[in-house]
Symmetry: D2
Subunit: 454 residues, 4 copies
C-alpha cells in the first residue's frame, strides 16, 4: 500500500457558511457543561478547522463598515471542545497537563486571505483607541508563507501562523472565580485602576452575556441553555486555562502544556492568526483568518503539581507553559523603539509596562509616517507584522522601560535612520485605507489632523 490513512478532520469548517450552519456546532463561551464534540487519543494526529474569530462578519473588500458595526458579543467562534484520553482510553483528569503539539497550521483552499482591523472606540477600541478612534481595516493576501496587502504597500513578511486562542475547559470552581473577579473589577472605582487604561475608554471587562451565546452541542431550546449561557465566561481575555492569550510564538511546530480542570481536558481553539505582532495592539490586530490545524496530544499525569505553580490561595490559579518552534520566522536585523512609563501627555506612571509599551508603539508609528505611511497604516502593520514587544526594564523606579523591535527586512526599502544628509528616503506609494468616520467626540490632542504627522 502506497498511502497512509488520511489525517482525520474532526472539526470541518466551511467558511462560506455562517457559524450556525457549520457541520459541527460552534461555541463562543467557556463553561464546563459544554460537552465535547469529539474525543482524541494521545499520539494520534488529527485535524481541526477553525472559522475566523468573527464567524465571517468581515469581508474581503475595501470598506470598513463591517469592522465598525461588528457584533462583539458573537466572538470568538471556537472549534471543540475536544476531550483527550490516553492509549488505554482513560481520559485526562483534573491536575494533569495536556500537551498539544501544533504540527501544522494553514489556510483553507480558496480562502487564502485575512484582515486586520481597528475597532471603533465605541465598539471595542484598541490599545491606542485614544489616538485611533475610527474603524479601519486592511486586507491581506496570503501567498503561501507570505502576506502582503493592497492597503499597506511596500511590506511583505513571513507569517507566524498561530491560534490566538487555545484553552481547556474551566471547572465550575474556576469559572466562578473568573466571574467573581471580573465582576469586582467593574465595581472598582476606575480611578484606582491604571490611569492609562481608563484613558482608553475601552470596556473594562466583558461579563457573561446570554445574548449571542453559542454553546456547541447544547441546543438553544434546551432547558439548560439559559443557565449555562448566564454562567459561561466570555472568551475575550486569556486566563488560567490559556484561552485568548494571543501569543504569536505558538506557531507551527510549537508545543503547549495546558492545565486540565475537567475530565477529558475538553480543549477548544480558534481565532486563527496568519501573523501577529507582540501585543496585537489594534485589538482586531492580527491577520485574522479561517484555517486548519494539524495536532497531536499527550497527557502528563499530575503535571499541574509537577510543573505549575500552586502559589496563592488556590491550586487552580496557574498558567500554561510552552516550547517555541524551530520554524519561527528568522529575522535578525531589528530597529527598536523605546518607551518609558510616562505617557505621551507627560504624565508620570509608576512602573507601568503597559504605558511604557504604549509609548514605544507611538514612537514607532511616528517614525514610519516619515516614510510615507499614514499613522493608521503603521498601527495596523505593528498589530500584525512579526515585531517583538519586550519588557526591558521593570525595576528602575518609577519608569518601566518597554521596547518594540521591528524587523527591517519586511520593508521593500531601507528604513534605518541615515547619517548622510544627502540621503533621500524613498516613500511608499500613497494608498488609501478602508476607514470609517468616528461618530463620538474626537480627542483634539495629541493629533488634530493627519498633518501633525508630517
Amino acid at each position: 500500500m502506497n498511502t497512509t490513512e488520511r489525517i482525520p478532520n474532526i472539526f470541518p469548517i466551511d467558511p462560506n457558511l455562517s457559524p450556525t450552519q457549520q457541520p459541527k456546532p460552534l461555541h463562543n463561551r467557556w463553561h464546563p457543561d459544554i460537552p465535547p464534540i469529539a474525543q482524541v487519543k494521545v499520539n494520534s494526529v488529527f485535524r481541526v478547522d477553525m472559522i475566523d474569530f468573527t464567524g465571517g462578519q468581515i469581508k474581503n473588500d475595501d470598506n470598513a463598515e463591517d469592522v465598525k458595526s461588528i457584533n462583539i458579543n458573537k466572538n470568538h467562534h471556537l472549534s471543540g471542545p475536544f476531550s483527550v484520553c490516553d492509549e488505554n482510553g482513560k481520559p485526562a483528569k483534573p491536575g494533569d497537563l495536556l500537551v498539544v503539539e501544533l504540527c501544522d497550521l494553514g489556510a483553507l483552499p480558496g480562502h487564502e486571505w485575512g484582515y486586520t482591523g481597528i475597532f471603533d472606540r465605541e465598539n471595542g477600541g484598541g490599545f491606542l483607541t485614544d489616538h485611533f478612534p475610527n474603524a479601519a481595516k486592511a486586507i491581506w493576501d496570503l501567498e503561501g508563507v507570505y502576506a502582503s496587502s493592497r492597503h499597506i504597500p511596500g511590506v511583505r513578511f513571513a507569517g507566524n501562523i498561530h491560534p490566538g486562542l487555545i484553552g481547556t475547559a474551566p471547572s465550575k470552581e474556576l469559572l466562578e472565580i473568573w466571574n467573581e473577579r471580573e465582576r469586582k473589577l467593574l465595581e472598582e472605582d476606575i480611578e484606582k485602576m491604571s490611569l492609562a487604561a481608563v484613558l482608553h475608554h475601552r470596556p473594562m471587562a466583558m461579563l457573561p452575556e446570554p445574548k449571542e451565546a453559542l454553546l456547541g452541542a447544547i441546543s438553544r431550546k434546551s432547558a439548560e441553555f439559559q443557565r449555562i449561557a448566564k454562567e459561561a465566561a466570555r472568551t475575550i481575555p486569556g486566563r488560567e486555562n490559556g484561552g485568548n492569550c494571543d501569543i504569536k510564538n505558538l506557531t507551527r511546530g510549537s508545543r503547549i502544556y495546558l492545565p486540565v480542570f475537567v475530565e477529558g481536558a475538553n480543549f477548544s481553539m480558534g481565532d486563527l492568526h496568519f501573523s501577529q505582532g507582540d501585543g496585537e495592539v489594534s485589538f482586531c490586530g492580527a491577520i485574522e483568518m479561517s484555517g486548519f490545524a494539524i495536532m497531536r496530544c499527550q497527557i502528563i499525569r499530575n503535571g499541574m503539581d509537577k510543573y505549575l505553580s500552586p502559589m496563592g490561595p488556590t491550586k487552580l490559579h496557574v498558567n500554561p507553559i510552552f516550547e517555541v518552534s524551530p520554524l519561527e520566522p528568522r529575522y535578525s536585523e531589528f530597529l527598536v523603539f523605546e518607551g518609558v512609563s510616562v505617557d505621551e501627555y507627560g504624565k508620570q506612571y509608576y512602573m507601568d509596562a503597559s504605558v511604557a509599551y504604549k509609548r514605544a508603539v507611538l514612537n514607532c508609528i511616528y517614525y514610519f509616517t516619515k516614510f510615507g505611511y499614514t499613522p493608521e497604516q503603521v498601527y495596523l502593520l505593528l498589530s500584525c507584522c512579526p515585531c517583538e514587544g519586550r519588557i526591558s526594564g521593570i525595576v528602575d523606579v518609577p519608569n518601566a522601560c518597554a521596547t518594540l523591535a521591528v524587523p527591517t527586512a519586511i520593508f521593500d526599502m531601507d528604513v534605518r535612520p541615515k547619517v548622510a544628509t544627502q540621503h533621500v528616503h524613498v516613500k511608499v506609494m500613497k494608498v488609501s485605507l478602508p476607514q470609517c468616520t468616528y461618530d463620538g467626540k474626537l480627542p483634539t490632542f495629541p493629533r488634530k489632523s493627519q498633518n501633525d504627522f508630517e
Copy 2:
C-alpha cells in the same frame, strides 16, 4: 609601520580605587551644568572605562551584608559626560541625534567577575520584593564570553554585555519636567496607582538628593555644587535621554540613536552588565561589573525632527531608537512561561502588563525549584540570564498577557517537561546562597517557608 595608534582611553578607571580616587571625576546625577570631561570627534574610535554601578560597594565574597547595607544614594557611578563634535569641530546641537556605536565591551584585566543581588525590601527592593524581602547575592566568574557562578550551580551562559545606562545630558527645561512629574507622583494618592506596584512597598520615586551627589568636574567646595546637587535628577529611571533603561539588547555591535538636548550632547554611561534578562527583575539584577567600552559616534543633524516623535505637549518628550547587533547570543530553544494580569493572590487588574509579567516570573521561579534550585537562586538567575520578557497580548480586556522565555541551553541538564512518567529529573547539587535575614515584617502569604516550594 606595523601598528595603528592605540585606541585612546578617554576615561580610565581603576576598580581597586574608590569612586572619588579615580583618575577622572565621576558623576551620579543628571544635570546640564555638569561639564564634559572630554570631547570626541565623529568617526573616531575611543575607549571609556566604567566602574560597577555601586562604585565598588559589593565584594567578591560569600556574604550578602554588603548588598543589604548598600547606600543607594551613591548610584550610579557614571563615566563622562562626553561632548561630541563633527569633522569640522562643530558640536552636536539640541535637536540632533547622537549615534553611538558600541563597537566592543569587556571586563578589565584582573576583574573578570560580577555580581547579581537581591536588594532588601527596606533598601530598594525588587520586582518581587513581596516574595523576596531578604538581601542575597550571587557572584559570577566571567570566563571570556561565558559566566558561571559558584552560588548557582548547573548553569553557564554567553553574556549579552551592555551598558545598563547610557544617555545624553538633559536641558534645563527637560530636567525641570522630570523633577516636577516625579515629585507629583509622590503626591498622588498611591491607592490610585497600580496596586501591584504599591504592594511592592518599594520607593515610588527617587527625587534629587544632594547627599552623596557626585558632579564630575564640579568641585564639592564650589559655590554651584549645592545648587546643582539640589536640582540634579537621580539616575535610577530611564527617561527621554535614554539613561538607565537596562536594555539587554544594547550589546556589543549595537548602535543607539540618542536625542540631543544640550550643545555637545554630553553623553554619560555606566552600570555595565555582563548579562541581563529582560526586566532585570531583582533590581540589582544583571551581572554587575566594571569594564570598558570601545565606541564610535556620529551625528544626524536635526535627527530629532526627522525620526523622533513630537507627539504630546513638548518636543522634548521623546525616546531613543536602536539597532540590534548581529552578535547577540543565539539561543533557539526556549521554555516559555505565561502570565496574565491577575495577581498571585487572585486579584484582577486591568490590562496591566507589569502584573502579567510578575505572574510569568513567579510561574517560572516555581517551575525551576522542581529541579533543585531555591526560589532565590531562580530569582537571581532570571534577573541575569539571557531570558526574554514579552508583552504578548495587550488588548484582551481585562487581561494583559506577558511571557517569559528561558533558553534551555543555559542549563547543564534537560529542563523541559517530560511526558514519560519513568523520567527522573536530575536535580542540581545544593549550594547555599549568600543571604541576609530580613528585619522587617515578612509576608505570611504566599510563602511561609522554603517548604512551600517543595
Copy 3:
C-alpha cells in the same frame, strides 16, 4: 464576497495512480522540444503538484526490495514544463532571468509520509557506497512540519521542505554541450579522475537513454518521440539550468533566479524533499515524497547579462542564484565533525573537498553508533536531517577541510561528548532497518561486520 479565487492547480497529481495515468503527462528528460503543459503569468499565484521522484516505485512498508530493484532510468518524474509570460503576455526570452518564489510546499492529504533509501552498489550506489553496498530504507511519518521514523528511533526534526529539482529547459545548443561533455567523461581514463570517485564504483554519468523516457505531451507513438528521447539529457545531475541540484535551502519562502534558454523559460520541477542534509549522501537520501508547491513568478529582462557570469567560452555556461527563506528551520547548537582530504585508508588526495566531506561523514557515522544506532541508520539520518556540510578550508595544500554540522536538538537525548567519566550515555532502542543483502563483492575493509562499529 467573502472568498478569494481558489489558487489554480495547473498540474494536479494523484499519487495513487502510476506516472502514465496522471491527469497531466509527466516527463523525465530535459529537451527544448518538450512543449509546455501550461502557461503562467508573472505575479499570479499558482499551484503545481509533484509525484515522488520514482513515480511511486517505493512503498510505505518494512521491506527494502523496492529500493534494491528500482528502475533508475525512469527518474525523475517531473511536473511541467511551464512557460512564463509577463503582464502583457510576452513570454520570457533567452537571456532573461526567471524568478520563482516558492511560496509554500507541502504534502498531499492522505500521503503524509516519505522515504529515505540507500541504493544498492550495483544500482546507483551513494556517496559511501564502498561502505554501504546494501539497499536499505527508512519510512518517515510527516506530522505537519515534523518528521519521525519507525526505523530510526529517537530523532524528530522540522523539515526544510524543498524541490530537489527545479530548472528551465535547455536550448538545443546547451543540450548539445551537456551531452558532449558528459560523453567525454565516460571516455576519460578514469584513473585520471578523482580516485575517491572511482572507488565508489558508481556510474560515471548517465547519458541519454530512450528506454523509459517520458516526454510530456509528446506522444510515444509520434515520429519525433524517438529523436527527442535519444537527444534528451537525463535529469540526474544539476547543470546550468538548475535542475537536480538538491539544495536543501530552497525551502518554502525562498526565491530562485533561473537563467532562461528558450522562449517561455519552460521550467520543470519535481523530486520533492520533505527534508535533506547537505550532500544528500545516500543518493536516495532526502525524505522523498509527493506533494504540492504554491509559487509566483517574475521575469528580469536581460537578467543573465546583468547578474550571471559570462566567464568561459560560452555565455550559456552559468548557474542559478537564490535567496534563502526566513523560515528555514532554526537550530543553534551543532556538533561538528571535521574531515580532511586524506581518505579513510590513509591515501592522500590533493585539495579534494569531496574526499574531505566523505571523511567528515564517516567520522560522524562512527560517532553516533556509540549511541546505539547502526551505521546504516546514521547514514540514512545524515542524508535527510537538516545537517550542514561546509567547505571550511580549500587552500591549505594538500588538504581541503570539510565539516559536517549536526543539530543536536533533533535527538531525544543529549548527544554531546561528556567529560565526566561517570556519565552514562543513553542508547536508543534497537530497531531493525528494512535492509537487503548485497549480491556483489563486499569490501572486507574497513568494515567486516557490524561489530567493527561497537
Copy 4:
C-alpha cells in the same frame, strides 16, 4: 578583596618585535620532540597571545610588495606547545581527548588591524590563482567587533574571530605517516590528480624544510635541531591533529575536542583570524591578525576510543570534533550562488566539490563586479567576510553542487537582484587596491582585462 587574580598570560607576544625576539620561543613546525613551553591544569582559565601567521612580514600600508615577496617557509608562527594535566597533575595521555574551550579572542591594544592578501601565483597562489595571479592585499581596521577596509569600500561586518590553526602534537608514528603520504603525492603523476587542482599551478605539498624552521625551546645550535627540523611536518595543511583547518566556526565561545597523540597533548595554536569566509579562498584570505585567546581545557580520558573513528588501518587516523558558539554572528538574509563540477572552461569533472565550489565563487565574483567592485576586491572580500560555503549535493553523477551564501547585510547598499527595470543599482566608490604586477605568464583566458568584467 574586590578582585580576582589576573588571568595568567602563559605566552605573551609583542607584535612590535620579530618572531625570534619574542619573550617565549615560537615554532613553525609539527614534531613530538618540540618541548612544551608551559603546562596548564584542567578547568583553569589562561591566556595565550599569538603573532600573526607571517610573524610580522605584512605591513599596514598601501603596497602589496610585502605579500608578493613573502617567505612562506617561515609560516605559521605558533604559540605553544602547551601540555595539559588533570586536577591531580596527571598529564593527558595518548588516546585521551583534549577539550579546549575558546572563552574569548581579541586583538592586542594598539594593533587593532588585520590584512587579507592574494598570494602571487609563483609564491603560494590561491584557490583561483589561474584567475588572480597577481599579489594584492587589503588592510582592515578592527573597530571592536566590526571590520572595515579603506581598500574595499561599502562593506562592514562582524568578525567571527578564531584561530585558523589549533592542534595537538603528533606522535612519531603519526608524523611519519604524514610525511610519507605527502611525499607520495609529489611522486604521483599529477595528471591523475584532480585536474582542477593541477590547473592552479599551486604547490602540491610542502614537505619538511629545515630552512627557516623554528622549533620553540630547541636551540638552533643544539645537536637535535637539524634532526628535528628535517623530520618536522610543515603547518600548512590541517591533519589528524587539527592544525591549520581554517574553520571559521571555531569562534569565541566554541569548544573543540582534539585527539591526544603524545603525553601532555602539547597543543599549539596561531594564525589568528578576525574573520574568514568558508574556504578562505585567496589562501592568505582571512583577516590575519595578532591577538590573544582566553581558554580553558578539560580532558576526556580515553576519549579517542569513545568518540573518534577507528575506521581505516590505523587508530591514529582521526579528526577533531567541535561545538559551535551561541555567539556566532547572526545574519539571516543570504544571496546564494550555485556551482556544479563543470569548470569555467566547460570541462566536466566527476563529483568534484572543489570544482563546484570554484564555480560558485567565480559566479559570485562576477555578480558583485556589477556593483562597482573590481574582481580582486570581491575575491578578497569572499575570503574574509562571513560567507558560507556548502556542499549542497554530492551524489548526482557527475555533478557535485556547491553553494556560496553571502550575507547581504554586510553591504551598505541593497545587493539583491531587482526585477524592476527602472531600478538603478548604486555602485561603490572606486578605490584602488594595493596590487602587484605578476611576472609570470598571464592566462589569456578567461579574463584578458578588467573590462571583461564590465
